[in-house]
Symmetry: D2
């Protein structure tokens, strides 16, 4: 029985998204009392404040999924040294109307994978500013800037040996963080 | 005859957007050899890298409008201490595919109006990081953090006396900036 | 008997520092089981990694004071849209040598007062990035961007009526934050 | 005869600073009409606004050196995901008193070398915010995040083959940038 459902938000819709693959592999490292909700954000409209009074079904679904979660994991690519517009659009939707943000208080984890050696460090720097404003306690260390390369996964899509210990350590820290803030 | 067409990108779609009003009023302060293209971004799809090879008509229109401009003005609200997702989505679209960004080299100006006394300073801080990466020379000073309040406009929608001198100075600086970088 | 000694770091050395005044007034709003260590940073040398092996007495004192604290309050002015160099210098000293940072895990609060209506929002945005890296759980909301003006304090240097309720609410939130992370 | 003296500011005082080495090697890639002023910042006091009226000799020297330059190169390490306090301290000194900043209008270049694969990307993100406020036109692309490793230099301390073409391209872009803004 899952006591800690975690919302998983991936900032890329690409069919072979590196970040979606990382999310799928990382989930396997969690203990049995954690479960995962794959939050769909690719069918949201572009945010328009005039719609605040009558949010569409997709926005209501997004908000309900976050409300039901005990924590949120963000897997973000880096586009133009910041987070993707599509991820920010989802963050904006679920933060409105003013005073009715559903992000408030949810313990967050931030991860990113990229083909660039710089990883997603600058995107994460912006994301952390946004999450602080949204009042989401966000795990500080360890940082997760994954460089996509051969050997990241084994033949079964599990995290490969080179990164397994590091990412298991991250999961353990996030699990404790969620329990502290739940 | 307009020699300096400027693309105007507003980060809010709200019918009574403060930033759209500011854009309309500011344009009147420019000299006669500047003209303006109101860039529509509210009908863009959410960016998906899988569509890079076959961009839709709206994305092609966006890119063509930026290509035809001698400069770009960004009017941004602040959502959750960053720029709106909808503005970042437009920035992402026109920056792709990799190596085919149309923003490259276009002299930029950054402005924002808000009901908050903090203005849009933190949103602009993120936006400037993005524009630096997009290789858009961006006017530094003066900064434009407009506080929306009575008297910002006169009865005809022109900039009111309290802000007229400051904003005319900004326009003059931006005009010189565009001519230097054109 | 104080169970929760809190280190107070002020980013300005000015004799009549607005941030030092705010620190002094804010301390009075805490419950009796909290006490305060005024951390001196104006006599630190400029950080040089070559000195890591033999830190001077002032650096050793700084690190010992942070080690002894159950939390850290940062009161920061904004210089050039970031935190003062003198505050970053103190952060750098106590974070070294690599792996021996004393900031790790200390629950932090961020505040700032300024004569500018923009307050210290952009400085705080940078500071929050630094504190995330230093693995300091940092209170998200409410944000404290104080505008220095008449009536901020009463005749006795206490927080005046206009800001009292807001700042008492902030203190209550920070007290709970420290107890959660202690 | 040098027509374009460039001030070089290095954010590390370490005897074997990677950034100082990069500065020395990069200077050799400039054309003959550029010369370099090594700006000393390790003997500056910690900035205190109370000293604005009577700056010490070191601060006056710093300001005079920047005044005499046609551009400024910043070589920054990354400390705690931002620029070093010692670099920010120098930026603060030469920006004061209010209205008498000597940085104003000087075309800037930003570079950094690090042993980390993430390079100095997040430090540079903060530095670019500061330089925008200081009204320094700053070269956007290419970005220079150098990974310190074997082969970066040849036996004579010149840039090695692997990075030579990239850095020569950067120098050529910066030279054109300085001439445009001089």
């Amino acid at each position: 029985m899952a006591l800690f459902p975690i919302a998983v938000v991936v900032g890329s819709f690409r069919k072979d998204s590196f970040n979606a693959s990382l999310a799928a592999a990382l989930e396997k490292l969690f203990p049995a009392d954690f479960s995962f909700i794959q939050v769909r954000i690719d069918d949201l409209p572009l945010y328009n404040q005039d719609d605040d009074a009558n949010p569409c079904a997709q926005v209501r679904r997004l908000k309900a999924e976050i409300v039901g979660a005990k924590g949120v994991l963000f897997f973000t690519p880096e586009y133009n040294r910041s987070i993707p517009g599509v991820l920010k659009n989802a963050l904006d939707h679920a933060s409105r109307p003013y005073g009715q943000s559903v992000w408030n208080g949810k313990p967050a984890g931030v991860l990113g994978v990229s083909v660039s050696p710089v990883g997603t460090a600058t995107a994460q720097q912006h994301l952390r500013n946004i999450l602080a404003y949204l009042n989401m306690p966000t795990l500080g260390q360890p940082e997760v800037f994954i460089h996509h390369k051969d050997g990241l996964y084994d033949a079964h899509g599990n995290i490969g040996d080179a990164s397994q210990k590091f990412l298991q350590g991250w999961v353990d820290a996030y699990v404790a963080w969620v329990k502290k803030h739940a």
